[in-house]
Amino acid sequence: MAKPMTAWLAKPAAVAIVLFARAITAVRAIWPESGVPSGRCIYFANHSSHGDFILIWAVLPPRLRQRTRPVAGADYWLKSKLNSFIGRDVFNAVLIERDREARTEDPIAQMAAAIDAGSSLILFPEGTRNLTDAPLQPFKSGLFHLAKMRPDIDLVPVWINNLNRVMPKGEFVPIPLICTVTFGSALRIGPDEEKADFLARTQSALLALSPKQLGNGE
C-alpha cells in the first residue's frame, strides 16, 4: 500500500509549525550547567497551552527531537482530522485516554512501551492545562507510576515561560511575545521513595526553574 497523503505532509507540516512558533515567540532554550541531556529521558513540563510541547520540540537539537514524543490526551488530539494529523502524524504523540471509564489501554504501559522502543517523552504531569492563577497545579500520579516502572530513566524538568500570555485560553490569534524554555538538571526516582515525596520533589524541581514573572499582570 502506498504511503497515505498525510505521511508525506507530516515533515513539511512539522517544519512549518516550528517556524511559525519561532516567528511568534522567538523561543530560546536555557540549558542547565550540565548541558543538553544526552540520552533517553522524560521531559516533564508545566502546561498552560496546547502549544507547550511544540515549543519544547522546537528548541531540542534535531538529533534529540527525532526521537522525542509528546504524551497527550486522546480526547483533544483525535477530536478532528486536523488535530489528529498534527498530534499523530506530525508529532507522533503517545495518545492516552484520560477518561478512566473509556480506557482500553493502561496509559502508563503505553508510555513505558514508547520508552522501551527508544523514545524520549514530553509529559505534562499536571494532567490538564493550568488555567488557574497558581504557577503550577498539583501533579497527577502518572509521573510517579511511570518512574517506578522505569526507575533508570532520567527525569528532566522543563519550565515553559510566557506561552500562556501568547495564547490565553479561548483566544485564537497569538500575540507575538518572547518565550523561554528552561531545562533543569535530570533527577531520578529513589529506590524506596514514597509517592507523595517524589511528587513534591519533582514539583519543586520544576517550580525552581520558573523566573520571577515579568510584566505579567495576571
Binding site: P168, E171, V173, I175, P176, L214, G215, G217
Partner: protein, 315 residues
C-alpha cells in the same frame, strides 16, 4: 542612479575595511589576552564584531533590493522590537485584541502607508488613529484594572518600535532637488553616524573613562566616553558629507544632533530596562542583546533627522 551606486560601493568598501580592522584587533586581543575564552569583555567584543558583519551584510542586501527591501527590513525590525517591548509590559487577558491590532493591523498599515508614500496619513496614523482606537478596543472587554498603565505602555511601545523606527525608511520618500535616486544614502548616513557614535562612546569610555555620567541609569557610560564619542562621530559625519545633500558643516551639525538624540535615547531605554529589572531587551543579536539594545539610539534620532531634512532640504 549610477552616482548613487558608486557612492554606495565606496561606502560599503569603507565599512568592510573598518570591520576587517576591527576583526583583526579582536583576533589579536583574543590570542594575547583570552586564549582560553576566559576574558568576558574580549569574548563579548568579538561576538559584537561578528554580529556587526551580519547586520552590515543584511542592511547591504536590503539596500540592493531597493525601496521594498529597505521597507521590509525595517518592518521586520519594528515587529521584533515590538515583540521585545510588549514582552516586558503589564498586559492582561483583556488586552488581547488591542495587542493583536497593534501587531497585525497598526504595524503593517504604517509600513504600507510608507510604501504608498501617503505622507499625510503616515505621519499621524499612529499618534491619532492607533492611539485612539487601541484603548477603545481594550475598554470593550471591561477590565479596568491598571487600565491607564496598560494603555500607556502599549502606546509608548507603538511610538518607539513602530512610529519612530518607520522614520528611518521614510527618508526614502523625501524629494530633495539634485539628490534624486540617492536617498538610500541618507539612511546610510543616519545609521552609520548613530552606530559609530555608540561604538566610539564605548571605545573612548573603555580607554579613558573615569567619571560616570549616569551611574543610576547606565553604569558603563562615562563623561569621557560621551564627549569623545560625540565629537568623533560628529567629525565622521562631517567627513561623510559627500554621500549627503549637505555641506560638510551642515553634515557635521546634523551628525551632532543625531548623536545627542541617540545618546539620550539610549539613556531613556536603559531607564525602562532598569524599571523592568532586565539587563537586555532580548537575545536576538549575539553579544548585543535584543534588537532594541541596538536600535534604541536610532529610533530616537530618526524622526528628528527626518523632520530637519524634510523642513530645510526637501520640496
Amino acid at each position: 542612479m549610477s552616482a548613487a551606486s558608486s557612492d554606495l560601493i565606496h561606502l560599503v568598501l569603507g565599512i568592510f575595511g573598518v570591520l576587517i580592522v576591527a576583526s583583526v584587533i579582536g583576533y589579536v586581543l583574543q590570542r594575547r589576552l583570552s586564549p582560553d575564552g576566559s576574558n568576558a569583555a574580549i569574548e563579548n567584543l568579538n561576538a559584537r564584531i561578528k554580529a556587526w558583519w551580519a547586520m552590515v551584510i543584511l542592511i547591504g542586501i536590503a539596500f540592493l533590493a531597493g525601496r521594498t527591501g529597505v521597507i521590509l527590513l525595517f518592518a521586520f525590525c519594528s515587529f521584533a522590537a515590538l515583540r521585545e517591548f510588549i514582552t516586558l509590559t503589564n498586559t492582561r487577558r483583556a488586552d488581547h485584541w488591542a495587542l493583536a491590532a497593534a501587531f497585525f493591523v497598526a504595524l503593517p498599515l504604517q509600513y504600507y502607508l510608507l510604501w504608498a508614500e501617503e505622507y499625510g496619513i503616515f505621519s499621524i496614523f499612529i499618534p491619532v488613529y492607533a492611539f485612539l482606537f487601541m484603548p477603545i478596543i481594550a475598554v470593550l472587554r471591561g477590565d479596568t484594572e491598571r487600565f491607564l498603565i496598560r494603555i500607556a505602555e502599549v502606546q509608548w511601545a507603538l511610538m518607539i518600535c513602530v512610529f519612530c523606527a518607520s522614520h528611518v525608511p521614510a527618508l526614502l520618500t523625501l524629494h530633495i532637488p539634485g539628490y534624486e535616486g540617492r536617498n538610500v544614502l541618507l539612511i546610510a548616513f543616519l545609521v552609520i553616524v548613530v552606530q559609530l557614535s555608540d561604538v566610539l562612546q564605548y571605545v573612548w569610555g573603555k580607554l579613558f573613562g573615569r567619571h560616570k555620567i549616569a551611574p543610576k541609569l547606565s553604569p558603563s557610560k562615562t563623561v569621557e566616553g560621551f564627549v569623545g564619542g560625540v565629537v568623533s562621530a560628529t567629525l565622521i559625519g562631517a567627513a561623510l558629507w559627500w554621500i549627503t545633500p549637505f555641506t560638510p558643516l551642515q553634515a557635521g551639525l546634523l551628525a551632532f544632533v543625531i548623536t545627542l538624540m541617540g545618546f539620550f535615547g539610549g539613556l531613556v531605554m536603559s531607564a525602562i530596562k532598569r524599571d523592568r529589572g532586565v539587563k537586555d531587551w532580548g537575545h536576538l543579536i549575539e553579544g548585543h542583546g535584543g534588537l532594541i539594545d541596538r536600535l534604541d539610539s536610532v529610533v530616537f534620532s530618526a524622526p528628528i533627522f527626518f523632520h530637519l531634512v524634510r523642513y530645510w532640504w526637501s520640496q
